[in-house]
Each structure stands twice: as C-alpha cells, then as structure tokens.
Symmetry: C2
C-alpha cells in the first residue's frame, strides 16, 4: 500500500504515496482531525478545496455518538459524513485513557463510562477493530494503552506487554482497509525498540509512533521518534500520532515520519490564533483592528483571498461563527500547504535548504505581536 | 428608486424592483440579518449562492463594535465585510430600546450604556443618520422610538410625536443612499394613520412599518400593517420590520408589503429547527437519527443536496459548527426561495392560488414530528 518515491540524501525525509480503498495519499501528509465525523468549523467541500487527501475520525467519539447502530445504517463514516476520500481512524485507546471516566483496565480491554452520559462501555482490541470495520476506515489503528508522561519504567514495560498482546488480537480481527501498529514504550529507548521490533514481527501495513503528544517536552518527543524509526521497515509508512507544530512536523519529516495528525490548526483557530511563515499571530490583538491586509501576505487560502485581518478580528471579538471558520480555513491551508512544500522540496532534492529556511523564518519573529 | 412591475388582481401583493447604489433588488424580498457585519454561520459567498440580493446590518451593534473608527478606515460595511450587494441598515432605535442599559430618552435622543462594556453612548436622529452614512448603507432607516407591547395610548401618542420630530431631523442629515421612514403608533389605528401621513408629507424613499415583532399577537401584527399600508404611496416600497414566519410573510405580501427581514431562519437554525413546506422540523429529534433523506425532499439548498438528516442531527447533538451552518443554509434558502416563488406567482397572476396552497401545506402538518 506504500510506494517510496524519493528520499532526501541529507536526512531521513521521504516522499511517498499511500494507496487506500478511497484513493491515493501523497506523503509526507497532514491529516486534519475530524473527531466527531466533521473537521471542526469546515465542510467536506472546503477540505477538498484546501487539498486535504485524508482525514481522521475518532473511534471512541463515534462509538459513543452517534453509535454503531447509526453508523451501520449509513454503511460507514464516508457515507455518513459525505467525505469520499480516505479516512484513518484511531483505535479509541488514547481517548479511553484520556477522556473516559471510571475506567478499569484488564488484559481483555477497558471498561469505562461514556464522558457524555456516564453509560457503561467496553472496548478491547477485538471491539476496537470491529468498530473501525463498522466505520469503514481505510486505515485502522491498533488498540493500545497510551501511558501518561511521565511514566516509570515498570509501568511502561507492563503496559507495553499488554499493548503487544492486544496487537496480536487486533491482527486476527478482519477490517476492510489497512492496519497500523502503534509503537509505545514511553521515554525508554530499549522499550521503544522492543515495541517496534515486536510489532514488525507480527506484521502490519504501517507503523505509528504513539505515546507522544501527552505533555512531554519536545526533546522527548523527538527522542521517541528517533528511538522507534530505525526499527521500522523503510518500505512502509510511519505516522507520528497527534503531532505537532509546523516546526515540529518539519523536524519529524527529517527524522523519517510520513504521516501526521494534530488538532492544533483547528483548535487554536477557535482562540483566534493563526499560523504564518513567521510564527503564530493572535488575531484578537488590538493591533489588527484596522488592518486591511490578509492574515498572511501572499496566502492563497479562502480567508486571505477575501477577508482582512480587521474584519476577521471583529468576527472573533464578536464571537461570530464565520470568524472561527475563516481562521480554521487559513490554518488548515497553512498545514496542508506546508506539506506540499515539504513534498516538493524532497522531490527536488532541496529539503535541507527548505528545512533551514522554514525554521529560521518560523522562529525569527517570536514575540513580533508586541513589536508590530 | 422603485419600479412597480405588476400587481396581483385579487390582493394587494405587488411585484417590484428597487434600485440602489449596489444594484437591483427584486421585491417582495427577504433580507437576511447580518447584525454584527455577518449573517450568522454563513459566508458572503454562500449568501450570494443562495440568491440573497440585500442583507441587513445593525447600526447599534456596529456602532458599539467594531466602532466608527474602524468602519471609516475600511470605507464602510461593504468593504469591511466583503459583501458587494445592497445593504439596508436599521437605525439603532430598536436595539437602543431593547438591548442597551440605563437608557435616558430626551427629545435630543437617547443616552445609554453599551451592552458590552457599559461605556456611555449617545444616539440621536442626527447621529443615527451619520452612523449609517459612515456604514455606507444603501438604505438608511430613520431613528425612531419603538414602543413596547402592550403600550397605552398616551405613551404611544407622545412617543409618536417624538419619532415624527426626529424624522424631520433625519430628513435633513445627508446619507449616501435611500432613506426610509418608519410608521409607528403601536396598536392604535388612528395613530398609525397619523404617523404614515406625517412621514409621507415629509417625504422619504420608502416606508417601514415598525413597532411590530415586539411580542404582539399575530392579529395585532396584521392590524398594524393594515392600518398603515393604505396611507403609504403605492409607488414606493413598504417594509415590515423584523418579520416574520413564512406564513406571516405570505400574508403580509398579500397586504401590500414588499420587504422583510427576520432573524428567525438563522436563529432557530442554531436550535436545530428547519423550515419546510410542511412547517418546521426539529432536527434534534431522535426520529432523525438514522434518516438518510435530506431535511426536505427536493430542496436544492447546499445542505439538502449533500447531507442527510441523520448526519445533520448528529452534528447538532455533538454541537458541531457545521451543523449550525447547514441548517442556517437550509433555512435561508427556504426563505429566499419562498420569495422567488411569491414573485413568480405575482408575475404570473396566480398569487392567490399560491397563497392558499402554501398556507394549507405549511399548517397541515403541525405536530407531525410525533406522527412520523
């Protein structure tokens, strides 16, 4: 399902292409997050116009609401949400451990209460794959335990053992699309290696690096990537779960990661924060009140092509839905366009130059809000 | 500024066309309400696709935020909000009397506190016209006092006297577009007549019927129209402010009204209520959970062409922004399409048949939610 098209000679960056039941995905790729069957504040049509090739759905959320009865009736998430391109679904593991109440973990899986109405639920490795099959996922993720940060070695090792046992169960459960294993092992290099090697020996269509984006400092995040990547097959896709900032994504691409998902561009948009090539901008700041220019000069997103910073600031201050939507469109465009630039840079052999230039500009203007 | 194209032989319904600085408006027309410089939950591009020919802006809200400094910098509301078709602005009178705190009314105008930060403000007839000039309004409304319902005759008469004095002041203040007088007089037929005749003798480009949509029963609303319309020039547009339901609009068209604005289609959308030819539907109702059909069979709105009731219900239950947007698009389409059907019916001489058929179907299915 994965073709490696070209490799950067000076780093581990790779240019590839995934094939799924719903079409191709060019990597490195950013996958907008559609937690509840919609990427917050935008429509499927807008996502297509922005060039999104694949989006994420959340097993846990969709299992809780609307539930599998509804999903079966519609024949899966694609038909339900009117998104006809690929969908990757997480396994629910991360959410069960971060959102659900009164969870009780056993070797069979996790008993928990719905975070919405407290209803008792159970998800184990088998159920997680069955739910993802019901969603019609193009890429299903294995059910794993995602240990917190920090996490002591003893717990990390026991948790990893359980996750690997679940991996074997997940492998057996049929799903219509691809299946990705998830490397765990917290901050321990030897556990990361053990996890990667064990998953590869079971054999999946791709491998994610999990247990990141749990509050760890950036150097631990990069270490988790560096301690996992060498043990993953180079002819299969690698996916860093829940990450990251634009600068982190560039750095993880350089470390051999092909796939990313992150709520940042959509979540911070709803606080009025926009991404630009020179870092983030808080559009609620008074300096934008009379600004006639777009969020970012030269940006080709639907918000920048038509609307001024002054108008968008007004919408945000007045808590108008259009404001959230415009900043979300801009931020998603920024991420998706960043990936296009990364792919082009790898293809044309200039990724190292791009990487240096991007990071320099992105970090150059920190604090510029107050200087402008 | 107003051409009367045709008249219904069996009622007072009229088919006309307004010309403004930003283009033509076919009447009878519905004007979506863009209180804070945006029609809630939709974009200017979507409004154009829906066929909106004119939208409303609120003087009071835009005066408070973003304020005239910002508006002057952008050269008016059209440039600020990126809407290039006509804009009608209310005068702020209604909001000053319904929203502002600690207001003190004198013959000069109204001292009040901003409902946002309590800042002391003043709007009088002169200021209201100056603000609307600054907004670049195509149709400016006179500054009036909008008495509550119910209202005793003494107060209604005194209030009307003040409103008429303000009308003379408004007449003198230059604005770039048209100016509409507002007929007041509460529920008193003689005051309505006095108000209409006095305004007409001063002379404006069109006339609104105000003091409706203030909590009065429907028969009082219709009486206010019937008691005002005969005294308004037939060759000028008539506008019923803040009204109404689809059925009420049809009835007011039959009573000679040409222009309407109402927050209903956008406001109720945000509660999950959709308009259909057979009345309203509460999309949050569990009966829609597995419904694969559109909000309304045959509807050509962007929501109905692409999305199911089941999906929209899920979005509404999950409080996703896309849900509010889709129902808003549907409801605005319903209103705008109703006006297209009304115009066509008048043009082709079948308005009475249309009126009967529409009202029968619209009222036929009340309570159908529980029957389905």
């Amino acid at each position: 399902m994965f073709d490696l098209i070209s490799k950067d000679p000076h780093s581990k960056a790779r240019r590839g292409r995934l094939s799924t039941r719903h079409g191709f995905v060019d990597t490195p790729v950013f996958m907008p997050v559609g937690t509840q069957g919609t990427v917050k504040a935008v429509s499927p049509g807008e996502l297509e116009l922005l060039g999104a090739q694949i989006i994420l759905g959340n097993t846990y959320h969709l299992f809780i609401r609307p539930g599998l009865d509804v999903m079966r009736e519609f024949g899966g998430l694609h038909q339900f949400s009117s998104w006809q391109k690929p969908i990757l679904t997480d396994s629910g593991g991360f959410q069960v451990f971060s959102l659900a109440r009164l969870r009780k973990i056993s070797d069979e899986g996790v008993h928990f209460q719905s975070h919405i109405d407290g209803a008792p639920c159970f998800i184990g490795p088998r159920e997680a794959m069955q739910i993802q099959a019901c969603l019609g996922s193009d890429i299903a993720m294995l059910f794993d335990e995602c240990p917190p940060y920090p996490c002591d070695r003893g717990y990390a090792a026991r948790s990893l053992e359980r996750t690997l046992a679940w991996a074997a169960v997940c492998k057996q459960e049929p799903t219509p699309g691809a299946k990705f294993g998830i490397v765990q092992g917290a901050t321990f290099a030897d556990l990361r290696r053990e996890s990667a090697e064990a998953l590869v020996s079971i054999g999946f269509d791709g491998y994610a690096i999990g247990g990141v984006s749990v509050g760890e400092p950036e150097h631990e995040m990069m270490a988790a990537i560096e301690n996992s990547e060498p043990y993953l097959p180079s002819n299969q896709p690698r996916y860093a779960m829940g990450l990251g900032t634009p600068a982190q994504i560039v750095e993880m691409v350089a470390r051999g990661v092909d796939m990313f998902d992150c709520v940042l561009p959509t979540r911070v948009a709803r606080n009025g924060t926009a991404y630009t090539g020179r870092g983030t901008v808080n559009l609620k700041n008074a300096i934008h009140a009379k600004a006639k220019g777009p969020i970012e000069e030269g940006c080709q997103c639907p918000a920048c092509l038509q609307f001024s910073r002054g108008y968008i600031r007004h919408l945000l201050k007045a808590e108008e839905i259009l404001g959230l939507r415009l900043v979300t469109l801009h931020n998603l465009h920024f991420y998706l366009n960043l990936m296009r630039r990364i792919r082009e840079a790898i293809e044309t052999g200039v990724f190292q130059t791009f990487r240096r230039g991007f990071l320099e500009a992105y970090h150059s203007a920190e604090g510029r809000e107050s200087d402008e």
